[in-house]
């Protein structure tokens, strides 16, 4: 990018510190971020650049009779107004199914769907131009999840002819699981107690703080350079090339600073629009969504309706689970098929159940499209099955933690998919640990003077001094898969280069991993220091000049791109030793015992064999490696059988809440967590993941929901869509367990998502304990507690 100066984080960044894996060195981007020098995608600037803006549908479902752009084009300062007719290549894109129009064609299917795009010399000019575009809509009744399952009566979200490639009707995807004898009459007869529950999860938003943004710069070769905040550079490119009519080598992506992601950047949003405008105008085009547009611009967490039946013996052994799950996929497929696979295969939770019958379906509706969000199908289920475990415990008169421990899966357990768990699965141990953590003081239960109202439900609105406040405690535990599942060829690429710079050995790490805040770049430097015994590590910007790193999602990057960096460093080390063998005649038995430590090649007895600087000279060693986890299998669509997931990860929570039962206000007093991470590659970053994930689970429990009425989004702002503030978020003590997974690099386990699962049911259980209410829906609102 040509600007006054290249932003520093788009150049090689030095990773400070001397620490290898298991330590917590400072993050290489930390200083830039606290100085305000770290360039996020919305901060980029280019001489002569234009601003792009999007016209979006005000209707959930309508036929487009006509679009008139002439008044917009006539506005001084406007360079382009494009509709689907101006797209040079394919008019559709999509992560798994290319069913989403780049710009609406003849019909809009959700509130906020892009219809036209504008480029102008000032963002305000672009906005005014958008207001001058005249679209004649024929508004149709929106199809919701209830209607979607009866298309004969209510119609199709997509014309039936569009379905050739995948499912039929309004079903995006379904997955069934038949385990043991399901819920046959004999099985049901064996259950001495059966509890049934219907649960609902509202639509949650990722609400990353850095809005969707990017800068597309037309290049002299007719291609485009895109600087972008995303989760997966290569799959963005794969979806854009057919639209732009350009080969991959002419669409080059570089990761700009990313202000959080949480799944919301897995699909493309403004990427292709900015490139189309740049291609058309021949000028650099920047698009920055504002918060309202961001709510319309990315997919959300699937709302879910779930019906569960749990059967057990009197002494608390699960006999069967029956689950029927409907996920609202919204207007386009996004990653709904994979979300359905997760919901079904993880649908009974981290428990051993001899018989299960699970049906999970995602439907097309005229609601906003839903796709990836942290926890990916496992979050909704965890609220359902954990609510059921509490219900069952109450029915049996058992302690809820005891019931969970009694049925907890462990290494060697068989899952409903037939998969045998072949790594530690310390579910009972995590529950034991979280239960054993000291409880917070109970002082705020007392009324009167000396109470700090900031510690009470309602806070400084001073609605109580402790009267009417009841404390409750609840537990939850969850299971999440790590990495891409169901036979997907999941790989990551890393390039490591070792060379002498200024008289010292320096390692450069180059991957396409999207650093979205999680700290992967810190871990890469730690891995290289551990493997190559050098202090100085440099991180190259992530871009498409190196092979794909896969997505920063599915808790997979430390495992996958971390694994690739480890493999590439091992290849570099091997090449260094090979150089010694060839040039210095090192015998094979010496080479077999060599290591790299402190910039030296040392033998088994720690004696220095060579100085790395001398051995390297001015010939760098440069290796690129593709790393794959062991293969998985697709689930059988009707029985759900298959080795579908590569790794499992577990977290348990204990929530302590105070509830003002008169006003329906909830204060979460403490959220304690215990999680197994296999190996804490960077303990500080692991805590950050657990705290952050836990807080998003808190948000889902008591505040976060995109309110959609007949397809219309009612609260696209931080004024009306509330995420936890520092006042809403309690202390979160964490106990980290490290039981190595023998199949994973360093034994590590993906850590980012598991804590997002169990916080929600733990909080709801605590509120149930305080109020005695059933509470079958999240988020819980005050009126659910007061019955008004």
């Amino acid at each position: 990018m040509a600007g006054p100066t290249m932003p520093k984080n788009l150049l090689d960044v030095c990773a400070p510190g001397r620490d290898g894996i298991g330590a917590s060195p400072l993050r290489p981007d930390g200083i830039l971020k606290v100085r305000g020098d770290f360039a996020y995608a919305s901060d980029l600037w280019h001489e002569d650049m234009l601003w792009g803006t999007t016209l979006r549908s005000p209707h959930a479902r309508a036929r487009i009779r006509s679009v008139d752009v002439s008044a917009a084009l006539a506005l001084p300062g406007v360079y382009a107004v494009l509709t689907h007719e101006d797209i040079p290549g394919s008019k559709f894109y999509g992560l798994e199914i290319a069913d989403q129009p780049v710009l609406a064609i003849d019909e809009v299917r959700f509130h906020g769907e892009p219809v036209a795009i504008v480029a102008a010399d000032h963002p305000e000019t672009a906005r005014r131009a958008v207001d001058r575009i005249v679209v004649d809509y024929d508004v149709l009744p929106a199809i919701g999840p209830a209607q979607a399952l009866d298309p004969e009566r209510y119609g199709y979200v997509h014309a039936p002819a569009d379905y050739k490639a995948h499912a039929s009707g309004n079903v995006v995807h379904s997955q069934h699981i038949r385990h043991g004898d399901g819920d046959s009459a004999q099985v049901r007869a064996r259950a001495e107690v059966i509890v049934r529950g219907e649960y609902e999860v509202g639509m949650q938003d990722q609400a990353f703080l850095g809005p969707e943004s990017g800068l597309a710069v037309p290049a002299e070769d007719g291609g485009i350079d895109l600087y972008i905040a995303t989760q997966w550079l290569h799959v963005d490119r794969q979806q854009m090339c057919p639209v732009l009519g350009l080969p991959p080598e002419k669409v080059r992506l570089t990761l700009a600073g990313v202000g959080g992601a949480f799944g919301g950047r897995e699909d493309i949003s403004m990427q292709v629009h900015a490139c189309l405008l740049a291609q058309y105008t021949g000028k650099p085009v920047k698009i920055v969504y504002n918060r309202e547009e961001s709510f319309f611009g990315h997919v959300h967490r699937h709302p879910a309706t779930m019906v569960f039946e749990h059967g057990a013996t009197r002494d608390g052994r699960l006999v069967f689970v029956r689950a029927e799950i409907v996920l609202d996929g919204g207007a386009y497929a996004s990653s709904s098929p994979a979300v359905v696979g997760n919901a079904a295969s993880l649908g009974i939770g981290p428990y051993v159940v001899p018989n299960a019958l699970i049906d999970a379906t995602a439907v097309y509706t005229n609601n906003p499209p839903c796709g990836a969000m942290r926890g990916f199908g496992a979050v909704q289920m965890c609220f359902g099955y954990e609510s059921q475990m509490d219900r069952l415990a109450a029915e049996l008169g058992l302690d809820p933690v005891e019931l969970r421990r009694l049925n907890a899966m462990e290494q060697g357990s068989v899952l409903p998919t037939g998969q045998v768990v072949d790594a530690p699965a310390p579910v009972a141990e995590l529950l034991r640990r979280v239960e054993a953590m000291p409880l917070p003081a109970a002082e705020h239960r007392h009324t009167g003077d000396g109470v700090d109202v900031r510690e009470l439900p309602g806070g400084v609105s001073n609605s109580t001094h402790g009267e009417g406040v009841v404390r409750g405690i609840g537990y939850g535990v969850g299971i999440k898969n790590v990495g891409f599942s169901e036979g997907f060829d999941d790989y990551s690429t890393a390039r490591v280069r070792l060379e002498v710079v200024g008289g010292a050995p320096v390692a450069l790490v180059h991957t396409a991993m999207a650093e979205v805040g999680q700290g992967g770049v810190t871990v890469h430097a730690q891995i290289v220091r551990t493997e190559l015994g050098v202090d100085l590590v440099t991180i190259a910007p992530a871009d498409t000049r190196v092979g794909s790193a896969g997505s920063t999602s599915a808790s997979r990057q430390t495992y996958m791109t971390g694994g690739a960096v480890k493999s590439a460093a091992e290849a570099v080390r091997g090449a260094v030793f090979e150089r010694g063998r060839l040039r210095r005649g090192w015998p094979p038995d010496l080479v077999a015992g060599l290591r790299l430590v402190g910039g030296k090649v040392v033998d088994r007895a720690d004696a220095v064999v060579a100085d790395l600087v001398d051995l390297l000279g001015d010939e760098p060693v440069d290796e690129t490696v593709e790393f794959r986890h062991r293969p998985t299998q697709a689930f059988d669509r009707t029985t759900g059988q298959g080795f579908g997931h590569v790794q499992y990860t577990f977290c348990a929570h204990r929530a302590v809440v105070d509830v003002d039962v008169e006003l329906g206000l909830v204060k979460v007093v403490e959220l304690a967590a215990a999680q197994d991470v296999g190996k804490a590659m960077n303990p500080l970053a692991v805590l950050g993941q657990i705290h952050g994930g836990t807080t998003q689970g808190l948000g889902l429990a008591v505040m976060e929901e995109i309110v959609v009425t007949e397809g219309r989004v009612g609260n696209p702002s931080f004024t009306d869509y509330l995420i936890p503030t520092i006042l809403d978020t309690p202390p979160m003590p964490v106990d980290v367990l490290e039981l190595a997974d023998p199949h994973a690099p360093y034994g590590l386990r993906g850590a980012g998502e598991a804590p997002t699962l169990s916080a929600t049911p733990a909080i709801v259980a605590a509120i149930r304990a305080a109020t005695g209410l059933a509470l079958n829906r999240v988020p819980i609102r005050p009126e659910h507690l007061t019955g008004t």
């Binding site: 990722q206 990353f208 900031r454 950050g688 952050g692 520092i726 006042l727």
Partner: protein, 166 residues
């Protein structure tokens, strides 16, 4: 219109400013200081927090014309050359920075808090930072960072942490 003000002590002029442009837009797009962030532009997230005549404000809510002849301080002005302000250093050291998008606003708000209160209690910290959203950290490490910065500043002043409010 033209707006003349100081930013981080430097006299600054912004030309061709539209009516309705915010201070945030002028800082980010006209005077080359994109450190203050644009997460909501509605006064809800605190990412754009800057000093205006010494008091923290949401730059997205301040009309550009309102800063005529006034003094603005941004995250870019907190460090003294290569030396970070103790608040900045504490955020890096404590692990309070993940994606970092909330960080500039939190730094200015914390900087102001620690100028007013040398030894804030946890409740005071939470109250002071309640207008600054962070989606990544769950705030635990931000609490640690503020406590760490307060302790280091107290050390530098040679005062004991049990002292009175600043």
């Amino acid at each position: 219109m033209r707006v003349t003000f100081t930013v981080n002590g430097r006299p600054t002029e912004a030309d061709d400013v539209w009516e309705g442009e915010s201070l945030l837009y002028v800082l980010r797009e006209r005077v080359g200081l994109p450190g203050s962030k644009n997460a909501c532009e509605q006064g809800e997230c605190g990412s754009c927090t800057v000093y205006l005549d010494g008091a923290p404000v949401c730059a997205c809510l301040v009309a550009a014309g309102q800063v005529q002849d006034r003094a603005v301080g941004t995250v870019e002005g907190l460090a003294d050359g290569d030396t970070l302000d103790p608040v900045q250093q504490a955020f890096v050291d404590a692990g309070a920075v993940q994606c970092g998008f909330c960080t500039p606003g939190l730094l200015v708000q914390t900087h102001d808090l620690l100028n007013r209160a040398h030894h804030p209690s946890d409740a005071e910290i939470r109250e002071a930072l309640s207008g600054n959203l962070c989606r990544c950290t769950g705030y635990e490490k931000i609490m640690d960072a503020v406590r760490l910065a307060a302790a280091r500043k107290a050390d530098a002043r040679g005062t004991a942490p049990a002292g009175s409010e600043g």
